[in-house]
C-alpha cells in the first residue's frame, strides 16, 4: 500500500500488537512489503570523536570506517575489507554532499579516497564531487561509486538521505520534487549510477533533527551523535537514520512531532520501487561502540 492515513496505521498497529506511539512516529514500518530479503546495517559510534575540538578526529573517523566495513563485509582486516569493495581497475566516484550548512565532513571524504587508493585504485581514477558530478571526467567514466552524506531534516523531502544524494546526477533535479520527493529512488536507475554503487555511508556525526527554514543549518537543532551507518542497502540505512532523527525529535519536543513533510520517499523506495527494505524487522542492525543515546 502506498498511501496511508493515521487511522489505517492505528488499525494495523492493533493487528501487529506493536507500540502505537512508536509506530505512528514511524509509519514506514507499516508500509513495508512482504518480501523476505533482509539488509545489514552497521551503526558505529565513538564518544571521543569530537574530543579534540569542533572538527571530528580524522584518526577516529578512519578507525570507525574500517571497523564498520570489516563487520559489514565479514573480512578480517581493513585491507581485505576495502579490497572487497573496489578493484585496482575501478574508476571511483565518491559522491559527497556539499550543502553549506552540513556538508559531508572533508575528513571522511579524504579517508574514503585514501582507502580506495590503498585498495590499488590509481589516484587519477578517484574523485570526490557533488554538484559537478555530471561533468566530472572521473564520474563520467566511473565503474564504481561510493555514496556518502550526512542526514538532516529537509523542507520538502522530510530528510536528506542517501537516496536523495544522487539528485545531482539528474538533468533536472526538480523533476524529482513532486509529492514531497516521492520518486527519489528512480535516481538510482539513471545510467550514470545504475548498478555502480559499492558502498553507502550515512554520516550521523552531527545530524540536524529539525529546521525552521529551508536554507539554513541550525546548530541548535543538531547534536553530537558521533555515528556512521554503513551498508549496501540505502533504503535500510536511510530508514535506520530516520528512526534516529524521529526518536531525537520526540526526545527534544516531548511530544509527537512528525517530520514535516513525512519522509515518504524512503518507504516508497521499498514498496513502490523494491530497491531495498525499510522494515526494521527485516534489517539486521549491528551496533558497535558507544551506545548511550543511540535511539535504536
Amino acid at each position: 500500500m502506498e498511501s496511508i492515513s493515521r487511522r489505517e496505521l492505528l488499525k494495523r498497529t492493533v493487528v501487529m500488537a506493536a507500540g502505537s506511539s512508536l509506530l505512528l512516529n514511524r509509519p514506514i514500518t507499516a508500509w513495508a512489503n512482504e518480501k523476505e530479503a533482509t539488509a545489514k546495517v552497521v551503526l558505529i559510534r565513538n564518544q571521543n570523536l569530537f574530543a579534540g575540538g569542533a572538527s571530528p578526529d580524522p584518526a577516529i573517523c578512519g578507525q570507525m570506517l574500517d571497523e564498520a566495513l570489516c563487520n559489514l563485509t565479514g573480512k578480517k582486516n581493513a585491507r581485505e575489507a576495502w579490497a572487497s569493495i573496489v578493484k585496482p581497475t575501478d574508476v571511483v566516484g565518491i559522491k559527497t554532499n556539499a550543502w553549506n550548512g552540513l556538508p559531508t565532513p572533508p575528513e571522511l571524504d579524504e579517508i574514503l579516497k585514501t582507502r580506495v587508493q590503498s585498495a590499488g585504485v590509481k589516484e587519477e581514477n578517484v574523485s570526490i564531487d557533488d554538484r559537478g558530478v555530471k561533468t566530472n571526467p572521473v564520474f563520467q567514466r566511473s565503474t564504481a561509486l561510493i555514496n556518502i552524506r550526512p542526514m538532516r531534516t529537509h523542507a520538502w523531502a522530510g530528510v536528506g538521505t542517501l537516496l536523495k544524494n544522487y539528485i545531482m546526477f539528474a538533468e533536472k533535479p526538480s523533476d524529482y520534487h513532486d509529492d514531497s520527493c516521492a520518486s527519489l529512488a528512480e535516481l538510482h536507475d539513471l545510467p550514470a549510477v545504475k548498478g555502480k554503487t559499492r558502498l553507502y555511508v550515512l554520516v550521523l556525526f552531527t545530524p540536524q533533527f529539525h529546521h525552521l527554514t529551508a536554507s539554513t543549518f541550525y546548530e541548535e537543532f543538531s547534536w553530537k551523535y558521533n555515528g556512521l551507518a554503513i551498508g549496501f542497502d540505502p533504503v535500510a540505512i536511510d530508514s535506520v537514520g530516520l528512526r534516529i532523527i524521529e526518536a531525537k525529535r520526540k526526545d527534544y519536543f516531548k511530544e509527537e512531532r512528525p517530520l514535516n513533510p513525512p519522509a515518504k520517499h524512503i518507504a516508497l523506495a521499498d514498496t513502490r520501487y523494491h530497491m531495498g527494505t525499510s522494515d526494521p524487522a527485516k534489517i539486521e542492525l549491528v551496533k558497535i561502540g558507544w551506545d548511550e543515546g543511540s535511539f535504536v
Binding site: 492515513s5 492505528l10 539528485i167 533535479p173 520534487h177 520527493c181 525552521l212 536554507s215 513533510p261 513525512p262
Partner: protein, 294 residues
C-alpha cells in the same frame, strides 16, 4: 492566558500603518555595501523556480506558498562569520504569514508583524515578505550585524499584510502559543501529527487550511480547519475524510474513540471542514467541537 495570547497576536498584526497597495522593495539598494567590517560580497536575486539554483528542493517550501522571488545579500569580513539576508516575496501577505508559521517555534514581535530571534538568526514576516537573516556562527560582531540587517529590512518594508481570515476563526481557549500553521498545500497536513501521506481532505491552491494545537503538550489535540471555495467542495471533502478515517461516525455517535484510545470528531459547516484529532478525553474534544460551532 491563551485568550490573552491570541488578542496580543491580532493586536500586533494590526498595529502597523496600513497600506492598501502592494509594495515592491528594492533590496539591492536598501541593503548596504558595507556595515562596520562586513562587506556585501554576493547579491542574491532569484525569481520563482530559479530558487532551485540556490536551495534546490528546499525551494518547494516557498513555491508551495506562491513564491514570486527572493532577493538578499551575503556579507563577509576578515575573520568574521558570514551573515546572509534573504527576503522572500510571496504572492500575498497571507502566504508570507503562512511561510512564517512554518518556521515558527515561538511568537515574538520584535520585527515586522511577527518574529523569532535566536542567537544566530532572526526571522520575521511583514506585508508580502518573509525575511531570514542568519550567520554561520554567533559572535558579538555577527549578532550585531544580524540585528542591524533585521532593523534595516524591517524599515525598508513599509507595507502591512493581512493575516488569513481563517486564523480568526480558531477558538482561542486552549490554543497553544504559536501553535498554528496556515497552508494550502496538502504536504503540510502532517506538520504536528501524522494524519495522512496523501491529500485526504482535498487541500489545494483554492483552499485555506489551518492546523492548530490545543491543550498542554502531554494532552495535545489538533484541530484541522479547511475553508473551501464552495460548500459542495467542503461536503465532498468531509465525505472523503469520513469514509477514509472514521466511517463509524453518525449523527448520534459524532465523537469516537480510536484504536490508540484518542478521540476524534469532524464537522462540515457551510464551506468549512473541521476535524479534531488525538483528543485526550471525550470532554476535551466535545469542548473544542462546541467552540467551533459558535
Amino acid at each position: 492566558m491563551q485568550n490573552v495570547y491570541l488578542s496580543v497576536f491580532f493586536l500586533c498584526c494590526s498595529c502597523l500603518p496600513a497600506f492598501t497597495h502592494a509594495q515592491k522593495i528594492n533590496l539591492m539598494t536598501s541593503l548596504p555595501e558595507q556595515y562596520k567590517s562586513y562587506e556585501a560580497t554576493d547579491r542574491l536575486d532569484y525569481e520563482g523556480e530559479a530558487l532551485y539554483d540556490y536551495i534546490n528542493g528546499g525551494a518547494e517550501l516557498y513555491i508551495s506558498y506562491g513564491l514570486k522571488g527572493m532577493t538578499g545579500c551575503k556579507y563577509n569580513g576578515e575573520n568574521l562569520p558570514q551573515v546572509t539576508v534573504e527576503v522572500y516575496e510571496m504572492t500575498t501577505s497571507e502566504n508570507a504569514f503562512g511561510v512564517y508559521t512554518q518556521s515558527r517555534d515561538k511568537e515574538e514581535y520584535d520585527y515586522g508583524q511577527g518574529s523569532q530571534s535566536y542567537d544566530d538568526f532572526i526571522l520575521f514576516w511583514k506585508d508580502k515578505y518573509f525575511v531570514i537573516i542568519t550567520t554561520q556562527k554567533s559572535t558579538p560582531e555577527s549578532r550585531d550585524a544580524v540585528r542591524y540587517m533585521a532593523e534595516l529590512t524591517d524599515a525598508a518594508i513599509t507595507g502591512k499584510g493581512e493575516i488569513p481570515a481563517i486564523i480568526r476563526e480558531l477558538p482561542s481557549e486552549g490554543l497553544a502559543p504559536g501553535g498554528f500553521l496556515y497552508f494550502h498545500h496538502y504536504i503540510w497536513l502532517n506538520a504536528y501529527i501524522f494524519i495522512a501521506d496523501y491529500n485526504i481532505v482535498d487541500i489545494n491552491d483554492q483552499t485555506d487550511a489551518v492546523l492548530a494545537k490545543y491543550g498542554p503538550a502531554d494532552a495535545r489535540c489538533y484541530l484541522l480547519m479547511v475553508e473551501y471555495p464552495r460548500a459542495e467542495a467542503a461536503e465532498a471533502a468531509g465525505m472523503k475524510l469520513k469514509e477514509k478515517f472514521a466511517p463509524e461516525l453518525t449523527p448520534d455517535n459524532r465523537i469516537i474513540r480510536l484504536e490508540d484510545n484518542t478521540w476524534f470528531t469532524m464537522k462540515v459547516k457551510e464551506n468549512k471542514l473541521c476535524a479534531i484529532f488525538n483528543g485526550d478525553t471525550r470532554e476535551q474534544v466535545e469542548s473544542l467541537y462546541i467552540s467551533i460551532l459558535k
